[in-house]
């Protein structure tokens, strides 16, 4: 899965771009932009209930894409489609096609575990494992067999904690339980844990909604740094957060993607009426 940028797949992603351009509300992507992930006509059903209807969106490489919208609009559901976490939920059915570097991630031969190694995820509530800080970060590298020796693992742990700007705070207590950290530290630990396996895409499902403003600001700063290396997709309730951190924004409403475009355009000049109403605070 990691070496998929072949000539064939590049062709495929071009085809995808062409298809998306036919859509009524999708803004033409800027020239020379890499498409990391792409969804075409994705519909999701929980049992009989349809949660998402015909979603098509391109995720640009090494950028932050924010997904906004009122509660229950399906943005978290869509996020979970991108690393196939919906597979875990019973009675969930997905139609349509989602590609990463042009490869269908729902193809039968795809190894879900290694897909999730490439598409990391950070959850709404910090969920460190009841282990030490060190073991939390070392968890991914260990199960994926990235490092054999203790030295290598230690190096990965230190590097990941530094990238998540947590290392300075915890370097003296790496072997203390992770549950003893504050909420903001726990969330940065979860980010460190996610980037320790060196994913290509990082999904963040309202990563700051359980945090205070100071911890939120730290995570946002961190996201700015991380986007140099990772493609980030963040679901957020806070429109300020979306406008602060993201380059592109998608607005979900009642299970459909009402509008997607550059963050500037969405917030200053929305095309869709629903987007305008939501952003100006008329509902939501």
């Amino acid at each position: 899965m990691s070496s998929v940028m072949t000539a064939e797949t590049t062709e495929a992603s071009e085809k995808v771009i062409n298809q998306v351009q036919d859509g009524p509300i999708v803004v033409r992507p800027e020239k020379g932009v890499d498409i990391k992930m792409s969804a075409e006509g994705v519909s999701v059903f929980y049992g009989d209930k349809q949660a998402l209807d015909d979603i098509s969106i391109d995720i640009h490489s090494k950028q932050i894409t924010a997904l906004i919208g009122p509660s229950g609009c399906g943005k978290s559901t869509f996020l979970r489609c991108l690393n196939r976490m919906n597979d875990v939920v019973g009675g969930c059915r997905i139609n349509g096609r989602i590609t990463m570097d042009g490869e269908d991630i729902y193809a039968p031969r795809v190894d879900v575990a290694s897909l999730r190694g490439q598409v990391g995820m950070v959850f709404q509530k910090p969920n460190p494992f009841p282990k030490s800080i060190f073991d939390n970060v070392a968890y991914g590298p260990r199960i994926h067999g990235y490092a054999q020796h203790r030295d290598e693992i230690e190096e990965i742990v230190v590097r990941s904690l530094s990238k998540a700007s947590l290392f300075e705070e915890v370097k003296d207590r790496l072997h203390d339980p992770a549950t003893g950290l504050s909420g903001g530290q726990q969330q940065r630990l979860c980010i460190a844990r996610a980037i320790a396996v060196n994913p290509e895409v990082l999904l963040m499902d309202e990563p700051c909604s359980a945090l205070d403003p100071i911890a939120t600001a730290r995570i946002e700063d961190l996201m700015w740094e991380l986007k140099e290396k990772f493609t980030i997709i963040i679901v957020t309730h806070s429109m300020q957060q979306a406008s602060r951190v993201s380059q592109r924004t998608g607005f979900f409403h009642m299970g459909v993607l009402a509008e997607v475009g550059t963050t500037e355009q969405i917030f200053q000049n929305p095309v869709d009426n629903r987007t305008r109403d939501y952003i100006t605070g008329r509902f939501g």
Partner: protein, 413 residues
């Protein structure tokens, strides 16, 4: 209001039940004595006879006139007594009503009074259990102390030979040498160990299956079925062990050249293990389910497979709870009696060979106390000493288990 009426009435009934025989009996016996003088037979027996005739259980025809006279008196006394009782009952009710009525002013906090009563009632209920436990412990300690007058404590705890029968038949040989509890505890531990060897893996694996893999529909059927195992009477397990498993072991042992006794620790241990499976599976299932889903998702989202998630995250997180479940199961295995009596034999062999017959503490208590016994011989008193020791061991295990489980519960707050 109803409470104010009912409480005195109930008190009267209770007092009456206690007091009535004491009132009536001397009067009846007195008349019997005055009419017929001291006849043959103990007074207690005569009183019983009178009561039985009065109740119509015995035919009155064979009884003497004196007795019949007493019966008549007994009956009339009972009538008077029940009259008196009814009057007292009603009076108590009326008095209670009156008192309640007087109290019934606007300021009277009736609901709080009811609360007080409820609290007292519930407290009394829980005291029943606690007092019973305390009195059992007291009885055990007192009787065990009497035993230790006959047999020194160290001989009991460290002796290697157990044969109470010899001791009682030939007192002059000296009973102290025959009350070594070590073989019993060794047998208990051997059987419990075999049982845990069966129950821990099977129970744990089925708990993991139920909690992590089974679909809700499968789970809703499988879990109650596993719990049915816990509802089977141990006697049934016992004869299953003695009549099915033990012969099977003898046969299998014979074919591979091992000489198995027809009553073996292995048979008892295996069946006991099956009996304990639901304890471990049900408790562990609850514990595993208590692990937050977010941890599961976190691990899966890291690219871990399901079994990696279970091994590396869920089991470590629920280990204290699982340990608690196992300890509870151990104390159950140690206390189990019926299977051992039926399948493991009664010979107190000090052996580690599971194919030989061994015996356990509980099985010995049963054999000691079955049938007629003198309650001052060291043999009988030994049962109390064994019981006390066993009680201490299981209490310690339960205490440990509860402590571990509680620490686990605090973990995710």
């Amino acid at each position: 209001m109803v409470l104010w009426c009912a409480m005195p009435m109930i008190m009267v009934v209770l007092c009456w039940l206690v007091v009535e025989p004491w009132f009536v009996r001397p009067i009846v016996m007195q008349t019997l004595g005055s009419v017929a003088g001291q006849q043959a037979g103990a007074p207690a027996f005569q009183y019983l006879e009178i009561r039985n005739i009065a109740a119509g259980v015995l035919p009155g025809t064979s009884a003497s006139d004196a007795v019949m006279h007493a019966v008549e008196q007994y009956k009339s006394l009972l009538r008077t007594a029940s009259m008196a009782f009814s009057v007292m009952f009603l009076m108590a009710g009326v008095l209670g009503f009156y008192r309640g009525y007087k109290k019934l002013t606007v300021d009277f906090p009736a609901r709080e009074q009811v609360e007080k009563f409820v609290r007292f009632f519930l407290l009394a209920s829980s005291m029943v259990a606690i007092l019973t436990t305390l009195s059992i412990v007291l009885a055990l300690v007192v009787e065990a102390l009497r035993f230790f007058k006959h047999v020194p404590l160290l001989d009991f705890l460290l002796g290697l030979k157990w044969s109470p029968q010899v001791a009682i038949r030939a007192d002059q040989v000296g009973s102290s040498g025959a009350f070594g509890a070590i073989p019993l505890f060794a047998g208990t531990l051997l059987i419990a160990f075999i049982a845990m060897l069966v129950a821990v893996p099977i129970g744990l694996f089925s708990a993991i299956y139920l909690a992590e893999y089974a679909r809700p529909s499968v789970r809703s059927v499988t879990k109650p079925m596993l719990e049915i195992l816990a509802g089977i009477p141990t006697v049934v397990y016992g004869f299953f062990a003695a009549l099915t498993v033990a012969p099977l072991i003898v046969k299998v042992g014979g074919t591979i050249g091992l000489n198995a006794s027809s009553e073996s620790a292995l048979a008892a241990g295996l069946v006991m293990g099956v009996m304990i499976i639901p304890f471990i599976s049900s408790l562990s299932d609850d514990v595993i389910n208590a692990v937050p889903t977010s941890l599961r998702f976190g691990s899966l989202a890291m690219g871990a497979t399901r079994s990696e998630t279970i091994r590396k995250v869920i089991l470590p997180a629920s280990l204290p709870g699982i340990m608690g479940a196992i300890l509870l199961a151990v104390s159950r295995a140690i206390g189990e009696t019926m299977i051992v009596v039926m399948a493991a034999g009664l010979a107190a062999n000090l052996t580690a060979n599971p194919l030989e017959s061994v015996t356990t503490v509980t099985a010995q208590i049963v054999t000691i106390l079955v049938g007629d016994q003198e309650f001052d011989s060291p043999k009988t008193l030994a049962a109390f000493a064994l019981g006390l020791t066993l009680f201490c061991v299981t209490l310690a295990l339960n205490f440990l288990a509860l402590k571990i489980v509680r620490r686990y519960e605090e973990r995710y707050d």
